[in-house]
Symmetry: C2
Subunit: 219 residues, 2 copies
Amino acid sequence: MKRSDLIFRQLFDTSGSSTYTYLLGDPASKDAILIDPVLEMVERDLAVADDLALKLKYVLNTHCHADHITGTGAIKADIYLLPGEKVCFGERYVEVRATPGHTDGCVTYVSQDNGGMAFTGDALLIRGCGRTDFQQGSPETLFDSVHSQIFSLPETFRVYPAHDYKGRHHSTVLEEKTLNPRLTKTKEEFKSIMDNLGLPYPKKIDAAVPANMVCGIQD
Amino acid sequence: MKRSDLIFRQLFDTSGSSTYTYLLGDPASKDAILIDPVLEMVERDLAVADDLALKLKYVLNTHCHADHITGTGAIKADIYLLPGEKVCFGERYVEVRATPGHTDGCVTYVSQDNGGMAFTGDALLIRGCGRTDFQQGSPETLFDSVHSQIFSLPETFRVYPAHDYKGRHHSTVLEEKTLNPRLTKTKEEFKSIMDNLGLPYPKKIDAAVPANMVCGIQD
């Protein structure tokens, strides 16, 4: 019998941070995981899962976000994961890959479903990448992470980032390997680009980072 | 030989109207169609098509929009379609279904790819539907359109609307048949709901409708 397709929903934060949240569900067991929920959108996320009769087993973050407060704490407490671990839901899983560089704790979740999907957080964005000038960021580390952990995936794998500010929903490994204006450069050129972005201090970082260190659960 | 998967991208209007634009491409011929582009996002849409080496064959509207100016005229002039017609791109096509009621010219485009997809415009939204109080709208007509032309599709078909204001990207025929708070009602109850929405006059309608009647091409 053909295994039923993964239940998959990409959701957008309409409250301001342009974050993508991902719901992945196993149709047989109804077990599901939620990646990068945003505090303000938790009610919407739970309604989507509920309408699909899914049981949330884990709620995951790709990293300690600086631009929004995570919804993971509001849903349930999370756990720390190690590279190579598999987060299982029903007969399915996502594999944890360490992709530091935007922050030192960034991970990418890789699914073999739907032809292959990588949830890259801010490590790799569509035609871009996360900044490297705060939260223990490092352009050299980010360059190595993307090349060794994401660009090494099959080229047809889809890239699902934590954000896109132009309304694009996903990309592919092939597209980013050939068209990403930063990550197609040499490591030296990449470092020079990243060191000279001159970005403003993130508006929400002073509230978001401490909150996210405790899973978004605040007094 | 297994036929290659459809190239498919859902794109969001970040300029304010929350419109979804859809790019569908045939991998063999590289022929593609674009559904419901928004004038302000045409450059982004063309860049996405260009990056995927797609040739835009047709640019389609689901209806004469009241909330934004179409990008179809800026890309190329469009053609009038009749119910039952197939719009072909490479070896693929979308079928035109007449789904009036939000406006009298609304259509739904149905694709057999990716397990089945319906591009419903404003006829059917996720857990909602388009208003029926302007542009020759009619709740009875909309009710009949959705039930006869969309709910008659296989329940696993995905519903891709022209908008969602809660950051949801798609739904399914089954979900809307069972969970849509308006269209699960009787026709009489539906008419009563739609006649009592008390919605404000759309901000952009006086500019958007005349512009869209000439394909968004303005002096």
